[in-house]
Point group: C2
Chain length 479, copies 2
């Protein structure tokens, strides 16, 4: 049995630690081992350390044990065993979240679903697919290639569909295809007591009862463990055109975006990279873009439809002084361009070797986007920090990646202050403290600033579905 | 004071009736009168009778009193007064629901929001608008006309935006623009204890906490009273084309729909009327369509885009033996066509003077639509009932309107049986027991059949947000 007997918190069965939670003791480890098999249970330091952190600056807070499940039944049995002992459960997909979502703040058992990587059923005629939660977005699209269908949601990382659901992820295509909120049809969820529910059926719409699907989308593992996901698919467009267009300044790039959206042009992607981000991407991904604020575009549709969109967007860009559209016509050039965009976070971090990234995002109504970005850029410049801006601007959503020296307390403090000002600025503009990264434990105070009394309703829902507060405790909502 | 002293349930203050609820006594009526003014409180029989029924066959179950509120503050004070006395609260918009949603099954106070008819703020640049819950969809679109924007969701009735939110309504445009689920950005809600929350801000996307907005969309007044709604708007398309196309049989019409959707053609409307429904519509709305299964289409887009869509749909229809597209090119012809479609329910009822309509709807994955409709048509025909089929077939959603003699017990029983078979058929096909009408108290058993163990999660949420079960009790979920 792969149990490290020196595991922290190993106590006599039935005892509980100071926080009121049960402990992961030898008795529970035996039970877990029987459920998943000894090879799929680990209490080794390296495995626990790796499961206590995501891709963010948040330090690793390791769970007491990690179980690797392969089925909903296994997850159910594990959660039930933990519930019976009031032991926390932290779900883990690929660990690519950005606000400490997987940190085991109260210890407990990490349920790793990465081996739940089966595509359960493609319903090509209904344009949907049901997958296990650990299937990654790229693997899904590779699997789908021969069907003529694709799944558009694409956060930077090659995340798991379960994790993307839990974080209400979006990405570059959201401006046209929506986020996980709009694209999940149904979920299989293991509830806090181990019971398994399916939140909906496969119909495209329904008025049958409370929208449990949307309740679990974005719940970050705090209401249950998502084990299977049914998502919408789309036909691969007849024509796809991508382009890069440099702008004289940040304002003109953002204003082009705003007018494009307000004109109802169904762009598939419209991404902003500021000078600092472009410099990072040029170096990291071998692009040779001019160092000026730039929009990356993609257009999907019929041949005629795409050309109509292009003409309309070109006309808008020209109004704002930009007319140098550089087209990526070959699929490999297009892939290189978008891989570079997806690697923006890694590219930013690479700007300062030895430094870490603090990635943050906000989202505002599109009419406030220019103001919000320009004020933020000014604030960053005044702080002297290295912090590129990159964004899904068509949604009013943008990111700042603070590239900081983790040993420089002053730099960290400055980044924290600029971040706080940016988030409060976005909220004041009727925006949100996070467009797609989620709350984790990094943005809990901002959640309160944004939602006010509605927090009480969220807390009531949390306690109703997880009365012992064992599901990913310490995230999203304080209980 | 407009209090009818013979009001049912008038008892001494503080007493409660057999169900455990407090009663609407003179003391509470005094309090309510102080909140809304004597002119805005009624206990008259006619007003109560009218507020206890919707447009369905469900009999009127009158509330003990009706208050007409004009602000969120008033609703909050009314709900608080009722909560303090454990008195049920039933929200009322226009009373156009179809499953008994407004019946005061446990008595109590009906909160009529129809006088909350202010358009609070149009944000044209962000393409959204915030309205009071009582604003009706047609009034909203008239108000918006000069902005070049419109609100697409259109259930048959001229319903209130609050009611449409509460029922998760959709309509003919949902195939392109989505339902209330996709189009509500934020809500102001009076909770069961009278507290007021706003569920979200105006950003188009957010990962900030649980999706309270979607939780209240479709909650049918059982979790709180919706008092303000922010919805997305869309640019009025450059080109709009409508057409009617008769088909040789039901199967070919449905298969044309399926292939259109599977081809990804962004039709704005694709509506099926079977022979019986077409006969009703011809008579009621003065159309002269051939008596054969027919699709009503609408196409939105640029001139070129619309023509491309039309060519593609025509080619598909021809494959299924239909090529007689009759175009409504003038706006007045288009309006007549769609008003006729919206009046389908009234037209069906008019087929048999003195009879009532039992309107029901289901929604299935599009691949199962032909099978589901054809089996249902066969079942209706075998029953000998008068029951037209009409549907938002692009979504996999269709309606049956049983036109029945309310005094003929056998006919009612037959309709109930056909309805039950249809709903169970839809659920067996991975569909839902209602695509857009909601549960009310007419479909509670079907909700259980559809959701299984997930009902327990819904019930937990209900009790967390409404621990006294005073919000529209007896609807959606049994407590």
């Amino acid at each position: 049995m792969a149990i490290n007997e020196t595991s922290p918190g190993a106590q006599a069965p039935g005892t509980s630690n100071a926080s009121g939670y049960g402990t992961v003791d030898g008795e529970l480890l035996d039970v877990l081992s029987q459920i998943v098999g000894a090879d799929n249970l680990s209490t080794g330091d390296a495995v626990r350390e790796q499961h206590g952190r995501d891709e963010s600056y948040h330090p690793s807070v390791p769970p007491d044990a990690v179980v690797f499940c392969t089925s909903t039944d296994q997850v159910s049995a594990v959660v039930r065993a933990c519930a019976d002992r009031a032991v926390p459960v932290v779900p883990f997909g690929t660990g690519t979240s950005l606000e400490g979502h997987v940190a085991a703040l109260a210890g407990g058992v990490c349920v790793d679903v990465s081996r739940m990587d089966k595509i359960i059923q493609v319903n090509a005629e209904d344009m949907d697919v049901t997958v296990q939660a650990g299937v990654r977005r790229k693997a899904l699209n590779e699997y789908l290639r021969d069907t003529g269908l694709f799944f558009p949601i694409d956060p930077g990382a090659d995340a798991s569909i379960g994790g993307m659901t839990a974080t209400r992820a979006s990405g570059t295509n959201a401006v046209r295809y929506g986020t996980m909120r709009e694209n999940v049809l149904s979920l299989t969820v293991v509830m806090a007591d181990g019971r398994v529910i399916r939140t909906a059926r496969r119909a495209r719409k329904s008025s049958a009862g409370y929208d449990l699907t949307r309740l679990f989308v974005g719940s970050e593992g705090t209401l249950g463990v998502i084990t299977e996901v049914t998502v919408k698919l789309y036909g691969i467009p007849e024509a796809i055109l991508s382009a890069v267009c440099p702008f004289p300044d940040l304002e003109s790039a953002v204003n082009t975006t705003i007018l494009t959206i307000q004109s109802g042009i169904p762009v598939a992607r419209i991404e902003l990279l500021d000078e600092a981000q472009l410099d990072a991407v040029n170096k990291y991904s071998g692009l040779d873009c001019a160092l000026t604020p730039t929009l990356f575009f993609e257009f999907h549709g019929s041949d005629a439809g795409v050309h109509e969109q292009v003409e309309n967007v070109k006309a808008i860009a020209q109004e704002f002084g930009a007319d140098d559209f550089q087209w990526a016509t070959k699929p490999e050039d297009r892939n290189k361009l978008w891989q570079a965009r997806h690697d923006a976070y890694y590219a930013a971090i690479a700007l300062r070797p030895g430094c870490r990234g603090i990635a943050t995002d906000v989202c505002v109504p599109i009419s406030r986007l220019a103001e919000c970005i320009l004020e933020t850029r000014k604030d960053i410049d005044a702080s002297g920090l290295c912090a590129p801006i990159v964004g899904h601007v068509g949604d009013g959503n943008f990111h700042v990646i603070f590239v900081v020296d983790p040993d420089d307390a002053e730099e960290l403090k400055k980044a924290e202050e600029v971040n706080e000002r940016m988030v409060l600025r976005a909220i004041a503009m009727e925006g949100t403290c996070t467009g797609e990264h989620g709350i984790g434990y990094g943005k809990m105070d901002f959640l309160t600033a944004e939602h006010g009394d509605a927090i009480a309703a969220m807390r009531a829902v949390k306690l109703a579905l997880d009365p012992q507060n064992t599901m990913n405790p310490g995230k999203v909502i304080r209980v």
